[in-house]
């Protein structure tokens, strides 16, 4: 059975320089514990801003952290190896975008 429920005007919040995720937010959105995030911050695999005793994260870090978490969980991967794979995936995506742009100019 499918029910319909109309919800109007959800509060849309853009994650940018002014609105960022906290450590708990980031951990929850990766389905991991906060300690998992802290370990990767200390190892330099994730980047965040540490101000006033708390961590704040941008959209880019959220996407990267979710990718890291998925790779580690799927392949029981070493965090460093998952980070290397993530670096390569990000670079391939960037190169593919450049390739599409160059192909459009032909």
């Amino acid at each position: 059975m499918v029910t319909h429920n109309f919800v109007d005007n959800a509060l849309a919040e853009l994650l940018d320089e002014h609105t960022r995720l906290t450590l708990d937010d980031l951990a929850r959105t990766c389905c991991m514990a906060p300690d998992w995030v802290v370990e990767r911050l200390q190892a330099g695999l994730l980047q965040g801003e540490h101000t006033g005793g708390r961590w704040l994260f941008t959209s880019t870090t959220v996407l990267r952290a979710r990718r890291l978490a998925r790779l580690e969980a799927t392949f029981d991967a070493d965090p460093e190896l998952a980070a290397l794979t993530t670096d390569l995936i990000e670079e391939v995506a960037e190169l593919r975008q450049r390739l599409r742009q160059l192909e459009r100019l032909k």
Partner: protein, 330 residues
Amino acid sequence: MEFKDYYQILGVARDASADDIKKAYRKLARKYHPDVSKEADAAARMAEVNEANAVLSDPEKRAAYDALGREAPHRPGQDFRPPPNWDAGFEFTGSPGAEGMDGAEFSEFFEQLFGRAARAQGAQHGGAQAHGAGPAQQRGRDHHAGIELDLRNAYHGAQRMLTLHGARLDEAGHLVNQERQLHVTIPKGVRAGQLIRLTGQGGPGLGGAPAGDLFLEVQFKPDARWRAEDRDVYQSVTLAPWEAELGGAIEVQTPGGSTVEVTVPPRWKSGRKLRLKERGIPAATPGDLYLELHIALPAATTPEQQQAYRALAQAFPQFKPRNAPGTQGG
């Protein structure tokens, strides 16, 4: 509800060892991993494979699933309802899904057997059937989805009506499919890869706990006219040969919708870009708009036009275009 044959999904025998299951899962995960797969339905197949692995790699869930298959044999795709107390004697620990995995992607079949519905029912019935490790109150899961916008939306913002498919628990603790429509105001200034958070629009919470959030990842629709790199926007502008070489004022329609007059400097240079400061994606520090200039040659279809090209050739007897590609030649 559709019955899921997790063994068939992973392509393993019913007596497969834990090691066989792990190998089969990793092989399929490499094939369908959304970051690398070229398969059209990779994301859906990966969710299915994750779900099968979440059950078969967990001895407790696998034993319960096997017992269910023996008591109520079903073929994949057949309509299925779990018999009452099907899970009596089994205890499920840990999260319904797996660490690092988005349980929101799991099917109704999984949710009904091992997920939030089973745990909520267990809690409501005194915890006799299914036991979760967490407290009775649990915040809902965050959900993630993509949203594709036109680059113009980044300049002006946009209104979108999203249809969300999900599930909620009714008063008796039964899982009810729910389709919701959400009217979302996309703020101006969005960039590709940026996340928009819709607070409380994720998975439902348990025991009065708040719902999770819905995160929308912004992507721009491919457009031959322009592209964005962070806040800077690159727009392709085509010039006639005489505009490119002699320079002059041209009118350009920008992604923001306005028409601006731009002065093209004389003497054509290949790869030339013109920067329009702060005409990129709006923000406290707006991006710039770069006009990438290209030349289009008009087709000579009439004798007069062909004669004009011949006259051009005669006017430039020293021009050797193949001596120095991309330049004015010799």
